[in-house]
Symmetry: C2
Subunit: 391 residues, 2 copies
């Protein structure tokens, strides 16, 4: 498990109170005002719908940010990896849900240890399963540990990734869970990842309507078997208004809403969706300039391109720039309109990443900025504590 | 600057001498025998062509591997970032070339400091420029430092990224360099990144023929101005046979040859090319299995997908699998032939990354394996020391 505290390097600590000009590039920068508004809007949305929200820490991987989300009313956090759970537990997060299947005995031993640690602290570890073998392995790992583990059965609600088929297959798994005193059935994991990025509102409505039907079908099958479903957990930034409106889901897992990215910004906006603002940027600098293009120092080692290339934030009308991939460490910048102005050597630019989660995963630190100034040290230089927590 | 030594976590140290089954997933694993053969083949190739080789450390970012390359005859290392140079210098690498433009005064102050540090150790720092302003800024940063910096003028030999136009523009920059006692003209940086990934041998020959012409033209212009060109540096894994055959290039910068990847493997092989073997793998595990697909625990937080998705290493004929993107933490596996067998829950698989450099950048450690066993600690758990050295 990672140490509880990890001091950011001196060069970052020196940034406190300075203008953003002082931030060396490439760097990942968070507009804390925008992020706070995003968090507040989700908190209000969840309260209005009387839902729990358990934002996904795979987005930020940061102890500091997880605590901010809890302070705003989140009931706990989701993670995808055992290592993320360990890193965030080491930072004082007590209610953690590994919303993913864990199969390796070595990892399950860590899961069992973490369940006990959190339980002793008055917290709770939850995890996801989609197979009988997964349940057996979990139960085996927990032997000799007094802690109980809350277990969600993942059903495939349309993504075609993990999860059993909705209906009787899920019932069978719940019955398996109930054979083990160390396991407690927590409910259904019903997350539709693909639906988050369907561009049109109608497409997303259709996808989530099917997901909701799958959930209903499964709850009915469980009820027919005399089993109650304590909670349905799921939903991402792209569809959360739909899961909320369904009346079935009780917990929102959305994580990207706090940062946003170019991909989510490309979705047609659902009128019911809270207004989430772009809060995450890669600051970059022009290191080479020629007559027809400029080159900046942020390539795909600085931002993930799985969901498309970054966009260049346009601060002056008419100065729009297109970003083309220049390799691992370079970006190629051209005027969006023929003859438009190019940035000068040394100029700083702000990129809007295509996809926030894997972009954060590339950086050791997030630099928090408020009103153009780097904020106080504790609250601003935000370690990406679980970066590299791949296992 | 990073500390000289950094102990890998206990969980990795315990792997020493164990079979690869013991490696938790996802993990980046190097077949050290294959890597050693790749290094040996490049060393022999360079010797045969009487060329220096200065492998690019942006590929491996590892002190341990940099030392292995030097031991095999490399004259030094290339890096792309000041932070990489610092991390590798802290690990005892004395001859470092930042093959990239540096413009930020804060970084240039670090460059100047590093030039002095390496000089005091009997080593040398080199850097790349492509603008008069870049040269002025460099000279300014070096004021008050006794160390001299070797400076290469980058010419654009067809990539359309950094670099001045071949010919008179380069002459003008060399003259600028020579106005500063702290700067020493090292030669021309003439790297054609795009050409590395042209699939056909004929296309690559054409591209590098043009690059060689551009170099000739520039050397002639320099000679006409009474200037000698000490060295032409460039070439990558995809084209190095062509630069070597040109008789103009004196130094090879190729880095990927030591690991290789699915993208380089897709190139039509030049008969003159040394046989470079795949040596880098992402070990992954099946965490979910259904009737028509399986899901493994390696998504694009475990391997870069800028140059395509990873391939699944096929260990049994007829068991070929296709990998589809399952998001940040998941890969979707389907039988390559309808009805072909799917891997079972818990099964380990080995992925060949699409692109080695940014894949290494996602990991904190490389696990070195020889003959199916994790090798001794010092030589096997290879820290990616400069991972996250973005600036």
């Amino acid at each position: 498990m990672k140490a509880l505290t990890k001091a950011p390097p001196e060069s970052l600590l020196r940034l406190k109170g300075q203008r953003t000009d002082a931030i060396d590039t490439p760097a990942l920068v968070v507009d804390l005002d925008a992020m706070d508004r995003n968090i507040q809007r989700l908190a209000e949305f969840a309260a209005k719908h009387q839902m729990l929200w358990r934002p996904h820490a795979k987005t930020h991987k940061s102890i500091n940010l997880a605590h901010r989300l809890l302070a705003a009313g989140a009931c706990g956090i989701c993670v995808q990896k055992t290592g993320e759970a360990e890193a965030l537990a080491a930072g004082g997060i007590d209610d953690i849900y590994i919303s993913n299947e864990v199969i390796a005995p070595a990892k399950l031993a860590r899961v069992a240890q973490l369940a006990q640690t959190l339980s002793e602290r008055g917290g709770r570890l939850s995890i996801c399963v989609d197979s009988r073998e997964g349940i057996e392995r979990l139960a085996q790992a927990l032997q000799g540990h007094p802690a109980r583990l809350r277990v969600f059965v993942e059903i495939d609600v349309g993504q075609g990734r993990c999860g059993v088929l909705p209906g009787s297959a899920a019932v069978s798994l719940v019955q398996d869970i109930q054979r083990h005193a160390s396991l407690e059935f927590g409910g259904l994991q019903a997350y539709h990842g693909k639906a988050q990025h369907l561009r049109g509102v109608a497409e997303r409505r259709e996808a989530i309507a099917e997901a909701v039907q799958a959930v209903h079908r499964t709850c009915e099958a469980l009820q027919a078997a005399g089993l109650q479903t304590p909670l349905i957990t799921g939903a991402g930034t792209g569809t959360l208004v739909l899961e909320a409106a369904s009346g079935v889901y009780g917990e929102l897992q959305a994580g990207s809403f706090m940062f946003m990215d170019a991909d989510y910004a490309s979705n047609e906006r659902d009128p019911a969706q809270p207004h989430f603002e772009q809060a995450l940027f890669v600051k970059t600098q022009v290191i080479s300039a020629s007559l027809d293009h400029a080159v900046c120092d942020a390539g795909h080692k600085s931002h993930a391109i799985d969901s498309g290339l970054p966009q260049v934030l346009c601060l002056v009308a008419g100065h729009e720039l297109d970003y083309a991939n220049g390799g691992d460490e370079h970006g190629l910048l051209r005027a969006a309109r023929p003859g438009g102005p190019l940035p000068q050597l040394g100029q700083f630019l702000w990129l809007i990443p295509g996809h926030c989660d894997p972009t954060v995963n590339l950086h050791d630190h997030l630099i928090g900025v408020r009103g153009g100034l780097v904020e106080g040290v504790v609250d601003c230089i935000i370690d990406v504590d679980a970066r590299g927590a791949l296992t």
